[in-house]
């Protein structure tokens, strides 16, 4: 596609390192290295969107760290200070920064680098480091959420797929595993998904759902006990929608 479009017309490739709300799909090994190679070959800027995946969510500071790739620009927000005060930003490579060494960068914001937001970021990163919060997210993913969610898939046929890492997981809910017919249409919802949400809420769990997917995305600080408590609620709540399964 790059060849067809004309590499000299393409400024950037922008990718979530692990796509988030759209489905939590960790890339296969070598995928991001391939993106890096394509960008290098054609002089294209590689923009890594780490807004949702960054700052511990995948069990690493940046999700990029899992695959050892170096983008040219990293977009971040959310976990940088957990949103206590709004903050986002772009980490800039030396080469791109050099472009704007003697040339004005034509952009800005009144609140760029707001001191309350930056103070929150400093405290957040420091506390996450001192308290081993990123390692906790990694361990919870490997030892508790990953195995626990796969067990839910064994118990509930509506769980068609389990994907994720750290505290960043998605359950793909289906009415038929063979056809992968989703429990709600792409871009929409369904009585089954509404029932799932209502049951979670009634059982004291605030879920994250998108179309036919249930995302399991608790704070990186969650303990094993709290994660297991949540898994038990999900077990009950998935039981409430098992009846929608029509597959064999």
């Amino acid at each position: 596609m790059i060849t067809f479009e004309g590499p000299q017309t393409i400024a950037a490739i922008v990718l979530e390192t692990v796509p988030g709300t759209a489905g939590i799909m960790p890339p296969p090994p070598g995928y991001l290295a391939g993106v890096r190679e394509l960008c290098d070959r054609h002089g294209i800027v590689y923009i890594a969107d780490e807004v949702m995946a960054g700052f511990g969510r995948t069990g690493r500071w940046f999700a990029l760290d899992h695959w050892g790739v170096r983008p040219d620009l990293i977009a971040f927000a959310k976990g940088v200070n957990s949103g206590y005060v709004p903050l986002g930003g772009v980490v800039i490579s030396d080469a791109i920064a050099a472009t704007f060494a003697e040339r004005v960068y034509p952009g800005g914001l009144t609140y760029s680098g707001h001191p309350l937001a930056c103070a929150a970021a400093v405290a957040t990163i420091t506390a996450m480091r001192e308290e081993g919060i990123v390692d906790n997210a990694d361990r919870i993913g490997r030892e508790v959420l990953g195995p626990g969610l796969r067990q839910l898939a064994e118990r509930h046929p509506v769980v068609g797929d389990v994907r994720g890492m750290g505290v960043f997981w998605a359950l793909e809910l289906v009415t038929d595993r063979a056809t992968r017919q989703p429990l709600a249409p792409y871009g929409g919802t369904s009585p089954a998904m509404a029932e799932l949400v209502a049951t979670c809420m009634a059982n004291g769990l605030l879920p994250f759902v998108n179309f036919n997917r249930l995302h399991v995305v608790p704070p990186c600080t969650i303990t094993e006990e709290e994660a297991k408590e949540g898994l038990a609620v999900l077990d009950d709540s998935l039981g409430a929608v098992d009846g929608y399964y029509t597959g064999g």
Binding site: M1, A11, F100, P106, H114, A123, A137, L205, H215
Partner: protein, 202 residues
């Protein structure tokens, strides 16, 4: 709507919300927002005193949990010292935050441009890339989300783009989006279901 389970202050919060607050991504008449009274760690409490385990981290942002005491203390201390300062000045917290964030990124990414959130980060990353290369187009993926501002939503590869899909105006392509409509239709690239397909935007 009145609700016997609510506290009077919770009821007032709810009523004022429904009268005056316009909510994101919502049909305004179809929503019934939960009134949140407080939150701590991985839990939050509604105005009926019910506790919820936050398996959403709000909008997948409270990575450190709610009300972390060190972060709350830092915000309070900074509020006492200096609540705001224009971006052209140097500020100790901004300098330190930039150093810490650059330190977490791979070597060779040493500078930070701060925004108010993720969508603006994508807006500026895209702008930097276009100015750096002198090229117009940006490649993004189906099944992605990059934010709700004009450029970011047009880079987004999910249904949230569709109502604001000005980036595709006039075009008719099967796997390629453009704002010019000059490009021809071509077949979608086949990919594994779990891997993102590619789309174009500019």
């Amino acid at each position: 709507m009145t609700d016997a389970g609510r506290t009077p202050s919770g009821q007032q919060t709810y009523d004022l919300d429904r009268a005056h607050v316009f909510h994101s991504w919502s049909a305004q008449a179809r929503i019934s927002p939960m009134v949140v009274e407080r939150a701590e760690g991985v839990h939050l409490w509604d105005d009926r005193g019910r506790r919820y385990l936050d398996f959403a981290s709000q909008m997948v942002n409270t990575n450190i949990g709610h009300q972390h005491p060190a972060v709350v203390a830092a915000i309070k201390a900074q509020a006492d010292r200096l609540c705001t300062i224009a971006p052209q000045h140097a500020n100790d917290q901004r300098s330190r935050a930039a150093e810490l964030i650059a330190g977490l990124a791979p070597p060779g990414l040493e500078r930070v441009f701060f925004t108010n959130g993720g969508a603006e980060a994508i807006e500026h990353a895209t702008r930097m890339a276009r100015l750096h290369t002198g090229r117009p187009k940006v490649l993004s993926a189906y099944r992605s989300y990059h934010g709700a501002t004009s450029t970011a939503i047009n880079l987004t590869g999910d249904p949230r783009r569709w109502p604001s899909d000005s980036g595709t105006a006039g075009s008719c392509t099967s796997s390629v989006r453009s704002s010019t409509g000059r490009r021809s239709t071509r077949a979608p690239r086949r990919r594994r279901p779990s891997a993102p397909s590619r789309t174009w935007s500019r």
